[in-house]
Symmetry: C2
């Protein structure tokens, strides 16, 4: 890992020149000032940095990157500091926060586009879209504090990927500061552009290792005019897949959410999260949260949901279920899914896996992975949930009751090997939507195809030959 | 441009070793045998090659690429030879046809995926998807003879991009032979995968200059259960955009086609293409072909179309229109759009531009570009049409009546400068969906942002340092 090896006098001179450009109040070096940027939410990582830089514009980002490049000083870019794999954490490098680049530059409801700077909070984008009767469909649990630059550089997923795709698919244009400080202006608002190689993918999902995203043109969609939300009990993951196929066949693109949850997770939310209400009388092993939404009122989604679920119950795919008849009921259903990670914290340590397999193999994966993990540690409380329509399972494992948390978390590598071996054997991915960061760097090196890994290294060498952008992350050394 | 500079004896030895591996009958060197691969449909380019190689498997492609790399012999890959910008034409290099890689390896209606080899004809894929009640939504005029490898390496567009995206967005996985003959197996069937850099974009839309696609995993969609097709007269392009917004608001994702056509094009089809029928009694300046389609029967698309168009007529967005009441009527409407390029051939020379601008600027582009071109050549007969929902206009110009075809075509560069200057001033693209190939290489060099172009050259150097893959195309020297 490239770390700081600069004489402190040179570093002081570098920081002084940056302070002169962006303002001394935006160069933080005191530990209390830097703490919000260096503390990772779950306490998995403790960042260290000689300084936190807070540029306020693309030009200032470019100035900093060029100055650091000249001095050979590596930089870790950071958005809202909500990443789950440590990609945003410095370990001796200078940290650059993009939070002050927080302007919405343009909203165009005819082109259905919004041009935003990297530091805009995701929820701010949601509201700006709604204000012009549009939808920006990226929805993730941290949307109140995560920043779009981070969402794009990690290719965030979430609960609407089934219909709208990952963050990568929601971008028309990018503005990026390259490793040498040059700015690539790719802020096109075009739906079609085959003028040479598409350069956006170099920066989407590459976690700031090939360039620093400073702004983006986002795709907007028509705002839904109606929704129908249902909470369902299903016999098993295979039934959930059959139900998915049925709903998609009947509702087409109106099926915008389809989430599978195991009993433990739902019960944990009901136990720990105030205000949540049990939606079904009985308890079951598996649940599905399904939502239909559409911009049209030409037909009634509630009726469509009811008819389709009726047929699904007759076919045995659904054991019991309820369709929300109010916003409050729908919100409660969503909380049973979205509060799950938060609720799990009350049950001690949690070892998390963010994996994907081909959709058809989800049931097989669940069966194998659950059996293998329970065999490895009796008393373990598995909490698998996730975006089953994308084949993406958050295969979380809560510690056995009474076990020492640290002792449990020390087994992370053991469970990685168990779960990831099964995933890879099914031609799945060990990193579905949270990225690689530093948490999974060794896992990627362990499992990645050698040719693919060589291509990644070639890209890194071509775009950041000195290895100064987010060193040590993804494939970095 | 890297051409052949090998002693003919070395070349003979190379071809002999390849013939031994893939069979002598698949190494064509006679001019009659090679003609179908070297003749470009419109006669714009006349290819030359010492040999046409026809490997039958990924392994044979890899063998050829490695052998050629060792010998320093450049290769031009080719699919169905239907490209419109000369990307598939060799000018002294060895031609490698992918046509014999024509197996569908897997169709999975649960995962909604199909794994195909590069040489499968697009229409064959359509039929294979339909056979399992699915849809593969890439539709372009050449679908009866183009091959999926070419579609992907040019990031083909077509009439369903509005809803389903370009070819790039329809791919989950790729298998690629790299410039040194290694095979990258990225044939994942995953909807989500953030395990390191996404490598697919390196090969999608890069016209075989960074690697040769040998197979792909395609996304399938639910098959439409109903359609409603309408042919409409609109006052002008601005009204077409208002209608687009209205239809999208009412029908959401059920709006799958929205094509704008100028009068001249429609009249030309009616005049030259046997069996086509005038759908409206009167003639108008501008027409729209709109289609709704959906996998569900929960609501009636015909009713939705009728209601929406009624409101659009009241608002003055539509002057006249007809909704197809039979498959035959719908097919006739489609022919008025799809036969346009073919019909134009009967009107002499045509200078073509495949451009895009932000959707909101289409009316302004039309006005400016039409005025500028007519001023440059009185008597010119403009034939603009295209995918207005994507901002993509095929800005074709038919020659004045009575002018010498060659004299007209000699003005191609003049009109390029006129049209492309306007496009670039509107932050548009000089190559929307047909690619760069050799036709637009100089235009790309002329207009491209210097930083972006430098990034493209870095990618080329990183992946094909010897410049042996499709040299001279896109950015190649």
């Amino acid at each position: 890992m490239t770390s700081m090896n600069l004489a402190s006098s040179s570093l002081d001179a570098l920081l002084a020149s940056i302070a002169q450009r962006i303002g001394a109040q935006h160069v933080l070096t005191g530990s209390a000032d830097m703490a919000p940027y260096l503390n990772e939410e779950r306490g998995l990582y403790h960042g260290q940095a000689p300084a936190v830089l807070r540029p306020g514009s693309t030009e200032e980002v470019a100035f900093i990157v060029e100055a650091c490049a000249r001095a050979g000083v590596p930089i870790v870019p950071q958005g809202g500091n909500t990443g789950l794999v440590g990609g945003q954490m410095p370990f001796g490098q200078v940290l650059m926060s993009l939070q002050r680049l927080d302007r919405i530059r343009n909203v165009d409801p005819v082109d259905m586009t919004m041009t935003v700077e990297a530091g805009v909070i995701l929820d701010t984008i949601h509201h700006a879209a709604e204000a012009v009767d549009c939808l920006f469909p990226l929805h993730i649990a941290s949307q109140g504090s995560c920043r779009i630059g981070g969402n794009l550089s990690t290719n965030a997923g979430g609960t609407a990927v089934l219909r709208y795709g990952n963050a990568r698919e929601l971008v028309l244009g990018l503005e990026v500061v390259l490793a040498d400080g040059r700015v690539w202006n790719g802020l096109k608002r075009l739906r079609k552009n085959n003028a040479g190689y598409d350069l956006k993918p170099l920066f989407l999902g590459t976690e700031g290792t090939l360039g620093i995203i400073t702004a983006a043109v986002l795709k907007l969609f028509p705002k839904p005019a109606q929704r129908s939300t249902a909470f369902l009990a299903v016999p098993d993951p295979a039934s959930a897949l059959a139900l998915l196929k049925r709903l998609r066949g009947e509702a087409g693109d109106a099926l915008t959410t389809f989430e599978l949850m195991a009993s433990f997770g739902v019960e944990t939310v009901l136990k720990h999260m105030p205000g949540t209400v049990r939606p079904l009388r009985d308890t079951y092993d598996w649940y599905v949260l399904a939502e239909l939404s559409a911009p049209t009122r030409a037909f009634d989604l509630g009726t469509l949901m009811e008819t389709t679920l009726g047929a699904a119950m007759e076919a045995g795919e659904v054991l019991d279920g309820v369709i929300a008849t109010s916003e409050a009921q729908a919100a409660n259903m969503w909380r049973l899914r979205e509060d799950m990670s938060e609720a799990q914290k009350h049950e001690g340590g949690s070892i998390k896996h963010d994996v994907s397999v081909p959709v058809s193999r989800v049931p097989e994966f669940m069966e194998q992975a659950l059996a293998a993990c329970l065999a490895a540690m009796p008393g373990l409380r598995p909490c698998p949930f996730g975006h089953v329509g994308d084949g993406n399972i958050h295969f979380n494992l809560s510690q056995p009751v009474g076990m020492e948390k640290a002792a449990f978390l020390a087994e992370w590598e053991t469970f990685n090997r168990i779960v990831h071996d099964i995933v890879v054997a099914m031609d799945g991915s060990i990193a579905a939507e949270h990225g690689i960061g530093i948490l999974k760097r060794e896992e990627l090196a362990h499992y990645a195809d050698a040719v693919g890994l060589d291509l990644m290294h070639r890209l890194k060498a071509a775009l950041d030959p000195a290895g100064l952008l987010n060193p040590g992350k993804v494939i970095g050394s």
